[in-house]
Amino acid sequence: MQKFALSLATATMLIGAAATSMAADGRDYISVVGSSTVYPFSTAVAEQFGKATKFKTPKIESTGTGGGIKLFCSGSGVDTPDIANASRQIKKAEIETCAKNGVTEIVEVKVGYDGIVLANSKKSEQFKLSRKDLFMALAKEVPSPEGGDKLVANPYKTWKEVNDKLPAAKIEVLGPPPTSGTRDAFVEMVMDHGCTAFESIKALKSKDEKQFKAVCQTVREDGAFIEAGENDNLIVQKLEANPNSLGIFGFSFLDQNADKIQASSIDGQAPTFETIADGKYPVSRPLFIYVKKAHVGVIPGIAEYLTEFTSERAWSEEGYLAEKGLIPSPKNERKTIAADAKALNVIVNNKF
């Protein structure tokens, strides 16, 4: 018994000693953090990269764009990530934080596009929506239906009330919570645009930007918009179970579940590979990865990882990323971006 206790105590002390001596002093794999939207693509690249080269497979964390950039900008050293995935462009404030922490040289690579779709179950009618309809259906306050500029709490209960041409179904939209990048993008690209269809609100934009944003971006909270969590698979399953609701999620989930759900067209454009790639479909956004130039050459494989990401076999129309749902950039653009990535051209701060 005593011996057992003694050996346990020794083991405990050994671990303690190992823990203190094993501070992160060397790393032989690439560390990537950031957006959950880019995650499926960067993991696919990482796996190919790990199998095809002599380097270790990069480690990829799905932290969300904001959280990822915060970690990325926390300093320059092997204990900080080398690459940040982002479903939006890096903000000026974030570049400044980066610079303050010694991360001055950042390489930006636009890897492709992602579409955000509104879809419902195949069991019910397909929707033809406009961004104005969506604003009227989902905003917390809308211009009074009786006319005039006064804003009232959203009175619409069915889609037919919003627009005569839509079915008389109850308004019920499942979407991601405010912490999600998909929600940010949806609000910016759909709601902001939709509310400028009203002259009175449009006028507000130049007068009082803050008020404008509050009006356009606040989503109603009376049960018509349901926050269904970050898990897009869950939203797809709920749509199947409840044919009357619409769901908001990324294009790749539509692509994988085309036998169960159908996408609504927005402003006359159905979300397809082609319409998103050429920018006709209004709700699409570019995806980026940001690379710390100071780490290239310190952590093995970063340059090669970039080469793999920007290779035609990965990010072209025929590449394996398209298979995973990434919408490729146009060919000429790809060429420039790949060249920029190869040369490790850093972001010039005054660009913003």
Binding site: M1, Q2, A5, L8, A9, A11, T12, I15, A18, A19, T20, M22, A23, A24, R27, Y29, S31, V33, S36, Y39, P40, T43, A44, A46, E47, G50, K51, K56, T57, K59, I60, E61, S62, D79, K122, E230, N231, D232, N233, G250, S252, F253, D255, Q256, N257, A258, D259, K324, G325
Partner: protein, 424 residues
Amino acid sequence: MSENHQISTMDRVSVGLAARYRKERRFRLFGISAIVASLLFLALLLASITAKGYTAFRQTEVLLDVYLDPAVLDVHNLATANYAALVRDAALALFPQVESRQDKRIVGKLISTGAAYRLQDLVTSKPELIGSTRPIWVPADDEVDMFVKGHIPRDVPEAERRVSDKQASWIDQLVAADRLKLKFNTAFFEAGDSREPELAGIRGAAAGSMFTLAITLLLSFPVGVAAAVYLEEFAPKNRWTDLIEVNINNLAAIPSIVFGLLGLAVFLNFMNLPRSASLVGGLVLTLMTLPTIIIASRASLKSVPPSIREAALGVGASKMQTISHHILPLAMPGMMTGAIIGMARALGETAPLLMIGMVAFIVDVPNSFSDPATVLPVQIFLWADSPERAFVERTSAAIMILLLLLLAMNAAAVFLRNKFERRW
């Protein structure tokens, strides 16, 4: 007078007797229905997971006759040979009628990208095979797998399926020729994570869980037992020990995410330990399980009767001897039960690991405590969030494995208690 009184009491008793029996029966009925309801929910959960997940233990494989072309395979440079081309040629050979370039590409897509790696393993281990034609079972693509298992329905319009009519007819052709079969899914147990469902496995996550739990057990059990022994046997009863006791009980009820935040601040930011390592995961889970172990250990120390202490002291044993020779061995089964239950809780934990970077895509199976690792519940979480349909069944299959492990641990706890526990 007294006679009258007696009778009236008996009467009163017998009048109420039926109602009292009824009351008891009702109470029992409530108890039974509560148990039935909870069993029903458990059965429902298990049934739905099993129904969704059991298909994942088998994987569609295709039999290819691969010509190990000496022109492609250079014996001195086997690592960089183009194995994918050999696989594609072998797949095309099955469909001599396919001519257009477009169709050839689609044929190539029936086979998983993992086939090339399986071929590479074979050739590397047996280079003498080069130059011969070998029949090899290789994994099919995940969409073929889903189609064969019926998760992609045949009866919907072609445009809405991820498997086209042409591919479907090819698959039927392979089945008819006995070249396409469901086989035991070894990759699921032998591989790390992958973005291709047919190549994804739980080995990496299971190894990560093992390393993490090993650290947790090695740290929390001795520390927990030592704390319990001191508090129970040596510590004076005063306001300070009361305060400590209240705090330990409080810690046991703290949401686990808080321990994750603590781990992030102390182990990563202050002590500069590596991110995503099972070492840090183990440290964080140690903090989480310590209170559980301390509480269980104290309870089991308390249950050792004072007569044993007094007898040992009476024959001249020192306090130290009394504890290490008599009290601890008698209390050990109870302590171990507490430890196992604490470990089982740690095995199922994801929230604190989120903060220290263990929620990550990691392909390589971890080999040491400092390698980046993830754990089983995190793997389940990551798969549940993947768009590919084939991950749905794999998610459920991984849940089944996790439940089995938990069941085994809890069964071990019950076994230890029954075997070693002594009653006085």
